[in-house]
């Protein structure tokens, strides 16, 4: 399974040459096409997939050419399958060269879409996952079709390069001899229709174990519940405040695994196995956390609504260690707004707490 394209043409670059005997006639002129490299050496007719392949080809106004060391075929929407070249040593050598120019190794399958100017517009490395050649290729064609449609649909300049009608899809099937026949058997066991939509489930509630300030709470929640609402509405922990409910004010800041986040944009169902710290969890044995003390001492608040968020953010800021100057502290506290404008004293409190600690 290839993780990435290490060589071969990338999207937007010129398509390498393709000199396959029997094909020059079709590929030497500048016609848009898709090339699919697959590793099978021998080809049999697609039986189950042929209607789908033809439908895709019709949609694309396209031709499919299948090349392998075992032969070269053309598939068109409305014509019978047409053999273009038979197996030969010469063919095998050419397809192996071509595959190399396209950066496809002998155990890989890949599809390239090339427009009328010889520029690669789409590349796709296929994964068989035990499925047969034609099943995989059919998927690839569908995806190439969708990509083409998307592009054509909204990129005006691209549309001039290739319209749907002038598309030709050419699939070159290149490779070394592997167990194509056994793959055909697997194909019979393939589920009848992988694309049918699943039956619509009524969204069920989810069970979540929230570990908050060291205590585990087991909750059954609607998946829409934010961590903020779980804290305030379900657990009665109202120290964490709701300001904007959209990530813009920082009033709802809590720590997850020691990192500050906004709890309004955190789904409670996603943080079941994490350590959550809220403003209620900062004091130890009745003694305020140093940052809390500093906010009291420096009067780092007016109405106090933003304060729990400011303090949680400041605790994390000090731990992160990226800020020392007042300007840096201001920048690193930019996610916490204070509508009362208590900023000067907030900065003073944080600097005092930071210095005491450092």
């Amino acid at each position: 399974m290839s993780e990435s394209f290490v060589s071969g043409p990338s999207v937007g670059s010129a398509a390498p040459d393709l000199v396959v005997p029997g094909l020059e006639r079709r590929v030497s002129h500048a016609e848009p096409r898709v090339l699919a490299f697959v590793r099978d050496g021998k080809l049999t007719e697609p039986v189950t997939e042929l209607p789908t392949i033809r439908a895709e080809l019709r949609g694309l106004g396209a031709e499919l050419v299948v090349v392998s060391p075992g032969g070269v075929w053309s598939v068109r929407a409305d014509d019978p399958l047409e053999p273009l070249a038979a197996a030969s040593a010469e063919l095998a050598a050419e397809v192996s060269d071509a595959a190399q120019r396209y950066g496809v190794t002998h155990d890989e399958d890949a599809v390239f879409v090339i427009d009328g100017r010889g520029v690669v517009r789409f590349n796709h490395r296929l994964e068989r996952r035990g499925r047969a050649l034609w099943a995989t290729l059919t998927d690839a064609l569908t995806i190439a079709g969708r990509a083409a449609h998307m592009r054509e649909g909204h990129d005006a300049r691209q549309r001039v390069l290739f319209t749907r009608r002038e598309w030709t899809v050419t699939c070159l099937v290149v490779g070394c001899a592997t167990a194509f026949l056994s793959a055909c058997k697997e194909q019979e066991h393939r589920p009848a229709d992988r694309r049918s939509p699943p039956a619509e489930p009524a969204p069920p509630d989810v069970e979540v174990m929230l570990r908050i300030n060291g205590t585990v709470h087991r909750l059954t929640i609607d998946p829409r519940t934010s961590l903020l609402d779980a804290l305030r509405e379900r657990l009665g922990m109202t120290g964490t405040k709701k300001g904007c409910d959209g990530g813009q004010c920082g009033a709802c800041t809590v720590l997850i695994d020691g990192k500050r986040v906004v709890s309004c944009l955190t789904l409670a169902a996603m943080v079941g196995d994490r350590d959550i710290t809220t403003i209620e969890g900062l004091a130890r044995d009745g003694a305020l956390h140093p940052v809390q003390r500093a906010f009291v001492e420096h009067d780092g608040l007016q109405c106090g609504y933003c304060t729990p968020g400011q303090i949680m953010s400041a605790v994390a800021l000090i731990r992160e260690g990226h800020a020392t100057s007042d300007d840096e502290v201001r920048e690193q506290m930019s996610g916490n707004l204070c509508r009362c404008g208590a900023y000067p004293n907030i900065i003073a409190a944080i600097q005092a707490a930071r210095r005491t600690r450092g």
């Binding site: 990435s4 796709h124 995806i143 990509a147 909204h154 489930p201 969204p203 829409r224 920048e331």
Partner: protein
Amino acid sequence: MQPFAFVHADSVDDALATGGRDGARYIAGGTTLVDLMRLEVMRPRSIVDITGLPLTAIEDMRGGVRIGALATNTGVAYHPLITTRFPALVEALLSGASPQLRNMATVGGNLLQRTRCPYFRDGVSPCNKRAPGSGCAALDGYTRSHAVLGTSGRCIATHPSDMCVALVALDATVHTRGPSGVRAIPIGDFHTLPGDHPEIESALLPGELVTHVELPASAFAARSRYTKVRDRASFSFALASCAVALDLRGTAIRDARIALGGIATKPWRAREAERWLLGRATTTDNFRRAAAIALEGASPRPDNAFKVELARRTIVRALQRGAS
């Protein structure tokens, strides 16, 4: 928020199997998705939690770097491989959102964040992006935040990402995995212009998962910078931003990358301006000329006409920082 089924993916295969279903969306940091679901601008029928997938690594790749789609914006911004090799990406990431949001936001999610166009977000105005075919309230509306490059008669919304602008200047490639295999998409092809279909914003196909982003080693990466201009000192989207990357010999420009944010419908590469700079000296006059070329195709409206000059000056400043 509309109801949805919640699915936790244990493996990439698992994610692809569930993420390919009709109406399904992946969720990573949730900072775009939860926000837009709450506004009912996005209404997925199911969401697939991908935060458990092993896609967080940041690794050396032949002098370049490979960044997992689930690496957080904070994780990338402070990673030694990034801070030593790709300064523009660090500056772009740290200029975006707030520390809390950067801790949550992932590279994959940042690539796919959606516009802040107020008519898109309000859930009721005509908006071709939110409700295809309904019209575009911005065309006759207040457009101070809207785009001047890459607009169409159907949508003029700005692409809001800072990170993506740096990725464009650094020649990134986005790697994806879908039900039938993997793809490599150059960053310039990843985001798409609004054209007639502003609802389509990227080359990503339904169910396809971004797995990682690759930044190649290059002669210009070391001299890359990101300059962002906004309404307030911090925690604000760009009015105009510019990522530059320069390869210099003395004061001669051997290679240049210029990418723009805050003023275009997708992270914008100013190729003509780059070409014009080749072989020229790093003078302010040349930078001004390049900036003028970059904005030649601009189609401003009365409310956002200021962005044309602002963007030009941002480009000049970014180039000066890159050259110094």
